[in-house]
Symmetry: C2
Subunit: 334 residues, 2 copies
DNA sequence: GTGAAAGCGCTAACAA
DNA sequence: TTGTTAGCGCTTTCAC
């Protein structure tokens, strides 16, 4: 195999421990010896065996990012933020996609028991039937930070946006612009962030004396065809809404698809506002009013929080960081 | 720590080697012993220590994906494909972003010498001043597959799309629709795929008796502000093109931004076609004609190729797989 | 069919 | 300041 500490020690007439310490720049070793070791190691192109040291030190230098999907611009920006922080700290990022499947989430998390990763950043699946696997993960003192999609049943650090207020703002915005019949495109499952956005929606309805019964909540899924059907049905129904709040990025764009299909004019016939991080929301036809989530910052913050738990051994489980979203008004709600 | 093979052995009055073999379902061990071991291990929730076995077996079960960025929908779809294949084979995916910085690419690749990953999937930076680090990587028999952005100086497996033909088709399409003054928005640097797309553009110009001098190639960068300036200048110049080919996703959307800003009508005044994988290209204002790259398939194929090199120990370095792109005509070139 | 023992390469007591 | 030694948890001869 490659060059080992042992070989360096032999060649230099030193003990392996001396070489080991020298390479880790220990104060115990004299400058001269260090220099000798460094130079020789460099000359031989020595690369420490990761597994040997991980075996001893019980850390991998890896963190896991577990996500429902990567196609959503929110998640790809979050990865960007996470990767930046990780790279600057010398950590490595492992990405896992659950595709909204609890089973996959479970087996992925299960894998983490063997020490492949030192900590986990996570946005849970929408239909978290059971979250024992997450509790168990925390049980084996694996630092865990939820970002965006948190799991409420698990006591753990969280980085989220102001979902309730954003939902309320989005809805109020539609009402202010003149929409009278609203609908909230929710996401089936039991996500706290979706529930909060939805409660914000209800709050706004209430604030404006609108009836919850007449201004429905429609539960979408992650299956595009199903959603298109749902939205088509909604927009073809007797009580066609003239203002729609999309609780996640894709339902907003899917609404666009259906409006185009049905020749419904946005915003004249239907106003649309969507939770989204799309860079090109402004280029859509018409440009899309968004609740723009600070995806990059959320990723970055979540990673930094994780590293606090990891390196300072701080118990960050009670930390909850809320980074506000911004309503960017565009043509779709003009 | 957790449950070890040693503890199982002690509790069951067996030797560690017996337990080890039993757990790996060795033919040497009797069915009864195996059952005993399996059941006890399951009861104790035994999880093998990854680092101990990696240290012996010299494989990590990780693969690296090195990308310029993740915001681009091409790359996020590619990750999707890669992750799918990896997950089905029990491998883990590490993601690294270079942000078009050769220095970062070098240090990332350098890191791979310690065995953290068993193989590498890569789309190189645009301005690959030197690629010694990539050659060196191949030198230490690390399986390496380039996808999309290949490095020509390195003998390695490749998964690409039909860039020349796509460039030609895109250009021909503009000409067919009536554009007379063309421009190709290239990417500064020396990427083979960009050069090929550009040669396709030239080919189409030539086929139609158009002058290369009068139908320029504009070199964009990855800095958005710079690009916007370049494109603005192009579209405000004396010789304003009425047909634009965007060689990568972002320059196409940036062209939209500038057209909106300058109140240039697409496609009446300027037709636009872009290399892109945007799901929502059809929702842009106007909908964008794209050369749609098979991003997901390319990721998947690249990963499968890597695994052939990894598990069958096949030398796949001479493999070059070309997956064609599809021109999807939309409003922007009507 | 099972067990003893020698490492994989590195780290960290503890000794010198 | 340097060296000796005993592992980390697992795999793998080779002997029984």
């Amino acid at each position: 195999m490659g060059v080992t500490i042992k070989k360096i020690a032999a060649d230099l007439n030193l003990a392996v421990s001396t070489v080991s310490k020298a390479l880790r720049d220990s104060y115990e070793i004299s400058p001269e010896t260090k220099t000798r070791v460094f130079e020789y190691a460099a000359r031989l192109n020595y690369v420490p065996n990761l597994y040997a040291s991980s075996l001893k030190r019980r850390r991998s230098g890896n963190i896991a990012v577990v996500l429902p999907e990567v196609a959503d611009s929110f998640f790809s920006s979050a990865i960007d933020g996470i990767e930046e922080v990780a790279q600057s700290r010398g950590y490595h990022v492992m990405v896992y996609l659950t595709h909204e499947d609890v089973g996959r989430e479970q087996s992925i998390v299960h894998e983490f028991r063997n020490g492949r990763v030192d900590g986990v950043l996570m946005s849970v699946v929408a239909n978290e039937a059971t979250y024992d696997h997450l509790i168990e993960l925390g049980g084996r003192d694996m630092p865990l930070v939820f970002f965006d999609r948190v799991c409420e049943g698990v006591h753990s650090a969280q980085v989220v946006t102001d979902d309730f207020e954003s939902g309320r703002k989005a809805t109020q915005h539609l009402i202010d612009r003149g929409s009278k019949r609203l609908a909230f495109l929710s996401l089936a499952g039991d996500l706290a962030i979706i529930r909060l956005r939805q409660e914000g929606y209800r709050q706004a309805l209430c604030d404006n004396g609108l009836d919850e019964q007449k201004n429905p909540v429609v539960y979408c899924t992650h299956a595009e065809v199903d959603n298109l059907l749902l939205i088509r049905t909604l927009l073809q129904g007797d009580y066609r809404p003239d203002g729609i709040v999309g609780s996640v990025e894709k339902v907003a764009t899917q609404t666009y698809t259906i409006c185009h299909e049905l020749n419904l004019s946005i915003p004249t016939q239907v106003r649309v506002v969507g939770f989204s991080h799309l860079q090109i929301a402004g280029l859509l036809n018409p440009s899309l009013t968004t609740i723009t989530q600070p995806a990059f910052e959320m990723g970055k913050t979540a990673a930094m929080l994780l590293f606090r738990g990891l390196e300072e051994k701080a118990d960050v489980r009670s930390e909850k960081i809320i980074i506000p979203s911004v309503l960017v008004a565009r043509q779709s709600t003009a």
